[in-house]
């Protein structure tokens, strides 16, 4: 019996790991500041299962938070009544795609430049900073009109090679 116990003690610790099958998680929240924290927690739950590093999970969480903040800003400017945001996470073995869709209005403007001098960074408003953060924090950002007259921001983060 002492031999068997030794065998048990020498076995490596087992950990549960995600099966990483393709799956979709969809969250709909009011397009208001109070609920962005809830969206970030949901994304934390989704991304944590995927073998991303701590910093990568935080990057995704912040990028999604920025996309939500943008949507809230648009809804406020356009005075949309009871606006909603839908956050759709597509989990695949190779990547996480998060679509943040609002039903406000389409954004104008171009992509933004990542190599601004300090003076220009200082004069950026927080929406521009948010767009810059999204560009830096995830691997792909695209913005397109959503069906039904809103904006869909698609964020893609690739999983680690292993």
């Amino acid at each position: 019996m002492s031999n068997e116990n030794d065998r048990l003690n020498s076995q490596t610790d087992r950990e549960v790991s995600s099966e990483d099958a393709a799956a979709t998680v969809t969250l709909t929240i009011p397009c208001t500041p109070e609920y962005v924290g809830t969206a970030r927690l949901t994304i934390l739950g989704v991304a944590s299962r995927m073998g991303f590093s701590y910093d990568q999970v935080e990057d995704i969480r912040l990028a999604v938070g920025e996309a939500c903040a943008n949507a809230i800003e648009r809804a406020k400017i356009l005075k949309v009544e009871n606006p909603l945001i839908t956050i759709r996470s597509l989990v695949e073995p190779s990547k996480l795609t998060v679509e943040v869709e609002d039903h406000t209005d389409n954004p104008s403007g171009e992509g933004i430049d990542q190599d601004k001098p300090a003076a220009e960074i200082e004069s950026m408003n927080s929406q521009e900073l948010g767009a810059l953060l999204m560009e830096i924090l995830v691997d792909e950002v695209s913005v397109e009109p959503a069906s039904g007259g809103g904006t869909r921001v698609r964020l893609v983060k690739f999983a680690n090679e292993s």
Partner: protein
Amino acid sequence: METTSMNLKVTPRRVDEETQALDLEGEVDVYTAPLLRQEIMDQVDAGVKHLLVNLNQVEYLDSTGLGILIGGVKRLKEQNGSLKLVGPSARITRIFEITGLNKIFDVYTSEADAVAAAKA
């Protein structure tokens, strides 16, 4: 305000000739419970007499996990051994109390107490 871990880690650790501990860390839920069941079964199959399940680092325990612990208690009792729980948080102690499971589980604050009780 809340520490969240998405996984469960189970580390077997030998205490003495006839006592084995399982150190749990994380969440015991419908996702991770099969791992706990397997680890307990491995110990039973290896002929362990007293099993101490260390809940000190467990922050979430659902009915699936409770069911597996109850199953473990029964299995070890059948072979004249015991399964004891060590160091649950206030939150998990409360779950034992409100479900009446404190009548079934032997719960100890420290591992030393649990070992002493197993030998008594």
